[in-house]
């Protein structure tokens, strides 16, 4: 079984939820394990929240697309936007998890969770586009019962 879904996002803070819920619906129909569904939709939500919040100023017409692709072996998502260059894998500050509540900031936490929850995460900047690809195997995920 194979399912492909392409979504186009407006520049709106509610859009990441629409994608996360669309992903969840297809994933549940596809029999994707609940733990994988949760982690992958959190990653989609965090990455897309960054894009709709920070990637654009008024100089470009925002184009944001997400392509979800389910096969029996894995689920992949490709996020593309024509916003300012941003590589979340390198450009986001790593949170210091040892600090007290008083000294902690939440900056970088979304990316930290995304990196921890997604098996393969790649960034590419090409011809004015940011391209993030996420890949999660559907069986025996190593972090499933970590």
């Amino acid at each position: 079984m194979e399912v492909r879904s392409e979504l186009h996002l407006k520049l709106d803070k509610d859009e990441p939820r629409r994608v996360a819920e669309e992903f969840e619906e297809i994933a549940m129909e596809h029999g994707v394990p609940m733990g994988v569904v949760f982690k992958f939709q959190l990653a989609l939500d965090e990455l897309l929240t960054n894009v709709v919040s920070y990637a654009f100023d008024e100089s470009v017409d925002p184009v944001i697309t997400v392509v979800l692709h389910f096969t029996d072996a894995q689920v992949t998502a490709v996020i593309e936007d024509n916003g300012r260059p941003f590589n979340p894998l390198q450009d986001a500050p790593a949170p210091d998890l040892d600090l007290s509540a008083e000294d902690r900031t939440v900056g970088g936490l979304g990316i930290h969770l995304t990196k921890a929850f997604v098996e393969t995460l790649e960034y590419e900047r090409k011809d004015g586009w940011n391209r993030l690809s996420l890949v999660q195997p559907l069986s025996a995920h190593p972090e499933e019962h970590a």
Binding site: K13, D14, P16, R17, A20, M34, G35, F38, K39, Q41, L42, D45, E46, T49, S53, P95, L97, D98, S100, A101, E102, R104, V106, L109, G110, H112, L113, A116, F117, A146
Partner: protein
Amino acid sequence: MNVETSVSGTTAVATVSGRVDSANAKDFDQALRAIIDQGVSGLVVDCSGLKYMSSAGLRVLLIAIRKTNAAGGGLALCRVPEHIREVLEVSGFVRLTKVFDTPEDAQASFSG
């Protein structure tokens, strides 16, 4: 998302259900602030009905942890679903707040 609140003296239980993400984290923040502003220093957040929480929800919890710590109490979580617990662990939040099995245990942690 929905938050139901039960206040008793300086402690309270806030039962949050549904999804907490960047689209509605502001509502979650307002709900917890409204409770703390009633003079609550020991806040229990019951997560039994929580389906989903992103880092936007963690940001709200962090603010509530600071405010309740400053008031001489703190924030405790209870009945946390497994996948949410993993978010707390990976983000290091298990070091910032205690996680209990029941609301009663969580509340008792403030009266001792």
